[in-house]
Symmetry: C2
Subunit: 205 residues, 2 copies
């Protein structure tokens, strides 16, 4: 009797439905304007139903986050194609920036907002973004091995690169870059791209 299997499948489908509309609503309206009631309305269930599938809002956000990290990893896979490791590093950086400008609300949820990290404290281990970050670490490791960059600690070099990119993105997403530099919002992505290129030139062996 495949009833328990079907029930499990239905449960999984319902979760899918919930995170799907949650993701869409986040992308369209931004984190702050999406409430459990809004989501419940959209999927035509009562708010309480969502709590049958998610312990709390943070747990739901955690799943939304995971979804977003998948998108980022997909973007990496598509845009990081060069045969030269250092060039791949460049492509990875640009793909990261691109993702941020195209999905600012998702970026918020993945890296800036506090909320979903509360759920993670309870998790065994935070797997979110692991694939993407590993891609960076592996790439940097390769560059270190082949002496393409000046640093020699891959872990620290990778973290530094991430911090540099993330710093720019998060300042930009909060409107700080324009206030600081006087560039317009449209110009900034290009300015940041140049700054990241400059950084890569600095670390180039």
């Amino acid at each position: 009797m495949g009833i328990v299997e079907r029930k499990e499948r239905e449960k999984a489908e319902m979760r899918r439905k919930i995170v799907d509309v949650a993701v869409r609503m986040f992308v369209e309206q931004g984190y702050e304007k999406v409430s459990i009631r809004n989501i419940a309305d959209k999927i035509e269930y009562s708010p309480a139903t969502i709590y049958l599938y998610y312990k709390d809002k943070d747990q739901l956000l955690y799943d939304v986050q995971t979804e977003a990290f998948d998108s980022l990893y997909k973007a990496f896979a598509e845009q990081v194609t060069s045969s030269d490791p250092f060039e791949r590093l460049e492509q990875l950086a640009y793909a990261y920036l691109d993702f941020a400008w195209k999905n600012p609300e998702l970026y918020d949820l993945m890296f800036i907002i506090k909320a979903p990290m509360n759920a993670i404290a309870e998790e065994e281990k935070w797997k979110g973004g692991d694939d993407s970050y590993n891609a960076l670490v592996n790439l940097v490791s390769e560059c270190v091995e082949k002496k393409l960059i000046r640093q020699n600690d891959p872990a620290l070099a990778a973290l530094s690169m991430w911090a540099f990119a993330h710093g720019f993105v998060s300042l930009q997403l909060r409107g700080r870059c324009q206030k600081a530099t006087g560039y317009t919002e449209e110009e900034m992505p290009d300015v940041i791209r140049r700054a990241v290129k400059e950084y890569l030139q600095l670390i180039k062996a």
Copy 2:
């Protein structure tokens, strides 16, 4: 008749009282746990009274932010003392990191959280952090002039440095660094300090 002056003074005193306890509560309990009602309770007025002195919560947060930026600037003034411009740049960076580790909740409010920036859109110009950022830009400009660093665009070099430091701090404050590197939370400030030092060595002429 100094009555209007007294009234104005009293109005200013009340505002002081409000932002003072607001700052204290932010530092102690964090942004998310401080409500208008909490603040009102602490100063022993009704919540509605706060709205006689602040248009909305964002406007109050803006004042709290300004307060926090003053503290940062003070930290700069105290810790940036060397006669050598490049060394001063180093001191500035370390002072920035120090401030973040000592006042994580204030840092959140100043640079990470969305909230007070809503108020700023309405302001003529965002003066928050202007002094501190100008200190950085001036310092970087001096370094560029004296050819102490390899970059030649002071605006971009300053922004890059800020982005680098802010990237580390904001990743760290969201627990991302530990998850990524495996270092403990206590070790991270030191690791980040090393990374920043490495960056400064990279840009050193």
